[in-house]
């Protein structure tokens, strides 16, 4: 009996460790810088818990007229540029990290938002479909990790 219990426990532990295949894509830490002009940036981490690569292809929110996928990058001579992308890919089991100075979402023609407000955002992936998340509005320039 005891042995069966141990086996059952082991099995359930294994199952919880490997059962990620059906959990889709999970979005965490969604935040928006308080807009100071007609645009602002949004960041989050999307964890692809499936066994297939996926692509973030569109983002919509009621508080912005348009949301674009951008990558900020620095050239060899120190110029920061932003380049619009058609998608952000995320490998199976990997994280898509949106953060200042790298991949991010640019909200254009955005409403007035205050720190602490929450914004509902629909994030569309090619395979996983649309995921709705709540992003919190933070002080401008403080959306990074440090």
């Amino acid at each position: 009996m005891k042995r069966h219990l141990m086996m059952a426990l082991t099995m359930s532990l294994l199952a919880s460790g490997c059962g990620a295949d059906d959990e889709g894509i999970v979005i965490t830490d969604a935040r928006v810088g308080k807009p100071l002009t007609a645009n602002t940036a949004m960041y989050f981490t999307a964890t692809n818990q499936t066994d297939q690569a996926d692509r973030l292809i569109a983002v919509r929110t009621d508080v912005a007229n348009r949301v674009e996928l951008h990558i900020s990058s620095m050239s060899d001579d120190g110029v920061m540029t932003m380049n619009r992308q058609t998608d952000f890919s995320v490998d199976a089991g990997a994280d898509l990290v949106l953060e200042p100075g790298g991949r991010h979402l640019m909200l254009l023609d955005v409403d007035i938002l205050e720190v602490g407000d929450t914004v509902t955002v629909q994030v569309e992936f090619d395979r996983a479909g649309t995921i709705e998340v709540e992003a919190v509005v933070v002080e401008p320039g403080t959306a990074g990790s440090g």
């Binding site: 100071l36 002009t37 110029v79 920061m80 540029t81 100075g101 401008p140």
Partner: protein, 202 residues
């Protein structure tokens, strides 16, 4: 089992004794990107938000001057530098008193004086906004030693590619270091007090 526990506790003890993380620049060295030899402060004149002439060298004499070229519609990069510097001002009153943070727009068409004033007030009301003609702004960027900004797109919501670094001039009039995007808050708190001490008297 006991052995394993001993090894584990030894590892934990060692890691706990390693002390706080150290960011480069120990022993009073700068952590920013060092400029060697130090670059002298250039002469150029722009316009402040009241419409008055701002002679960079004269206005920043004997001060710690931090200059950054950006624009208010820049959603990703510019707010990070400004938020970091606003926090440094909150944390170090000596630096706040003796420093001038100067934000020069590279988008003078959209960044009117009122737009710039409102934008900077979101970070720290002591920050100084400057503007100028396209030609004056180009002269200023070349003089400070940063790449000249340019429009990336032609539409109404155009983006501007611009230098990512904050350039700092010590009170003695020399620039010893600059700070690209990605500079950590802790680096500012290490470097600015060091640079503040570099006066003509030292």
């Amino acid at each position: 089992m006991v052995m394993a526990a001993l090894v584990l506790s030894a590892i934990l003890t060692i890691s706990a004794c390693a002390g706080p993380p150290r960011f480069g620049g120990s022993d009073g060295e700068l952590t920013g990107v060092v400029i060697d030899p130090p670059r002298p402060k250039p002469d150029f004149t722009l316009t402040d938000l009241d419409g008055d002439e701002f002679d960079f060298a004269a206005e920043t004499e004997d001060k710690l001057a931090l200059i950054y070229f950006g624009y208010t519609s820049c959603p990703d990069i510019c707010p990070v530098h400004l938020a970091q510097l606003a926090e440094v001002f909150d944390l170090n009153s000596d630096v706040a008193r003796e420093s001038l943070v100067i934000f020069v727009t590279v988008d003078p068409d959209r960044d009117t004086p009122d737009v710039l004033r409102d934008y900077l007030a979101n970070f720290d009301k002591r920050f100084i906004g400057l503007t100028g003609t396209e030609a004056e702004l180009e002269v200023a960027q070349r003089a400070v030693g940063v790449p000249v900004a340019f429009r990336e797109t032609d539409d109404d919501e155009y983006l501007v590619a611009h230098a990512g670094q904050v350039v700092v001039f010590a009170p003695d009039g020399l620039s010893y270091s600059e700070y690209p995007f990605g500079t950590r808050q802790s680096q500012w708190l290490i470097d600015l007090p060091i640079l503040l001490e570099r006066t003509d008297e030292t």
